[in-house]
């Protein structure tokens, strides 16, 4: 906590210094992570500001560049990505694909394009999930999200005949979001990045130790130790052996049986709800509204 608040205050000081003395002053903060945070925040704010709906069209490219730059600064807050070259390259590619297409989702004037871009984002995230060993989840993301949900979105969008000509797609609501939403989003992102910062990030090994020690101390013997199911290893293949999807299934239908049942109930409720809404809203509802 104290370390983190030191970080926050340093960032504030750096930002003040920047506003008081200009770019040159940032040199003094060069070696401090706080400087990257400040720079990242400012670039992200300006980038998002330029990309919001209703902003002038010519700024869009600059906005994307500024956002990428801000992202770059924020990445510097984290320890460097290491590993085999294919993994690193794939990850960087997929990460930028996801983030850039996410940016495009948010800023595209045409909602249909938004949905398309979102599908691309999903591809990127699915790829990252694969990298982290989540084969089943990656496939499910593509199948359920991209395959079903996004298509449904598109379907509804087509039905609703909205293709970016509606003012609501081209404008945001007044001046408030321009001045508040971009800073809020940027600040949130940078603060989370700072939380991921090397020094304050939990070291897993130690963490596992502490967790188990805590469990033993409390006398909760009947609770299985959390970090036991898979071997500790350095690479994806070692960490998630081939049988792990089977293990996943086993978990789902043993330990997580009740949540899965509840989700089944949830699906039933949503199904019933969607049908009821459709039947309630159409014929008689419109009649009533017209009368």
């Amino acid at each position: 906590m104290s370390e983190f608040s030191t970080f926050a205050v340093t960032s504030l000081l750096a930002a003040t210094d920047f506003f008081a003395n200009g770019w040159a002053s940032l040199l003094a903060w060069k070696d401090q992570p706080a400087m990257w945070a400040v720079l990242g925040t400012m670039f992200l704010i300006s980038g998002l500001w330029a990309l919001q709906p209703g902003a002038r069209g010519g700024w869009r490219v600059l906005g994307v560049l500024a956002c990428l730059a801000g992202l770059g600064f924020c990445v510097r807050l984290l320890p460097e990505l290491s590993g085999t070259i294919p993994v690193v390259v794939t990850f960087r590619l997929m990460a930028s694909l996801a983030l850039v297409s996410g940016l495009a989702t948010v800023t595209a004037k045409n909602p249909v394009y938004s949905a398309m871009w979102f599908a691309v984002t999903l591809m990127g995230t699915a790829m990252m999930m694969l990298l982290l060993g989540g084969q089943f989840v990656a496939v499910a993301t593509v199948a359920v999200y991209a395959g079903a949900i996004v298509v449904t979105f598109l379907f509804v969008l087509m039905l609703a005949q909205s293709s970016g000509r509606d003012p609501c797609d081209r404008l945001t609501w007044g001046k408030v979001p321009a001045w508040w939403a971009a800073p809020a989003a940027a600040l949130l992102f940078v603060m989370i990045c700072a939380g991921l910062h090397q020094e304050s990030f939990p070291n897993r090994q130690e963490g596992a130790e502490v967790v188990s020690s805590g469990l033993i101390e409390s006398g909760a013997d009947h609770v299985q130790s959390a970090a036991a199911s898979l071997p500790v290893a350095n690479s994806v293949a070692q960490r998630f052996p081939e049988s792990h999807v089977a293990q996943l299934g086993g978990q789902l239908f043993s330990r997580y049986l009740i949540p899965v049942q509840v989700v089944a109930t949830l699906l039933l409720a949503a199904l019933v709800g969607a049908v009821a809404i459709a039947s309630y809203g159409t014929a008689s509802g419109i009649e009533e509204q017209l009368s």
Binding site: V106, W180, A185
Partner: protein, 149 residues
């Protein structure tokens, strides 16, 4: 800190980015469906974080949680789209700001003041879907008026 851990961390950063972007989109966009998409994007960021955390801790809990999230998101999507369709049939547009009649008495509603005039008067462009079956003859008229969708 090994290679894999740094991969997890960077994935979490991407997750945070998607989360923040989705949040930004939710706040600035007005189209109901796009707002909804933005929330889905936030959930995507959350899923990435769960996966990364699970991988970091060497457990499958993260993946189980993501499966649950996907299921819940599907529920929300089904319900939400039904809702949006019904609202669209009532109001004729997808603008969230056309739904502000429940507000404090005496408070003025938000009205757009900067609708570009040329665009507000332009005709709506209808999307066309390719019909199934035999390839149709290409109609020159259609080609001219085809929208960019």
């Amino acid at each position: 800190m090994n290679d894999f851990d740094s991969l997890c961390q960077h994935t979490m950063l991407v997750g945070a980015g998607l989360f923040a972007l989705g949040m930004f989109g939710f706040l600035v966009r007005r189209n109901l469906i796009v707002m909804f998409l933005c929330v889905e994007m936030m959930l995507q960021g959350v899923s990435l974080t769960w996966i990364a955390a699970g991988a970091y801790h060497n457990q499958l809990d993260g993946q189980v949680m993501v499966i649950l999230i996907i299921a819940v998101a599907a529920c929300e999507a089904g319900l939400g789209l039904a809702l949006v369709m019904m609202l669209y049939s009532r109001q004729g547009n997808l603008d969230i700001l056309s739904w502000q009649s429940n507000r404090e008495e005496g408070r003025a509603s938000f009205v757009d003041h900067d609708i570009p005039e040329s665009e507000s008067t332009s005709d709506p462009v209808w999307p066309t879907l390719t019909p199934a079956g035999v390839a149709p003859e290409i109609n020159q008229e259609d080609q001219l008026h085809r929208s960019h969708v």
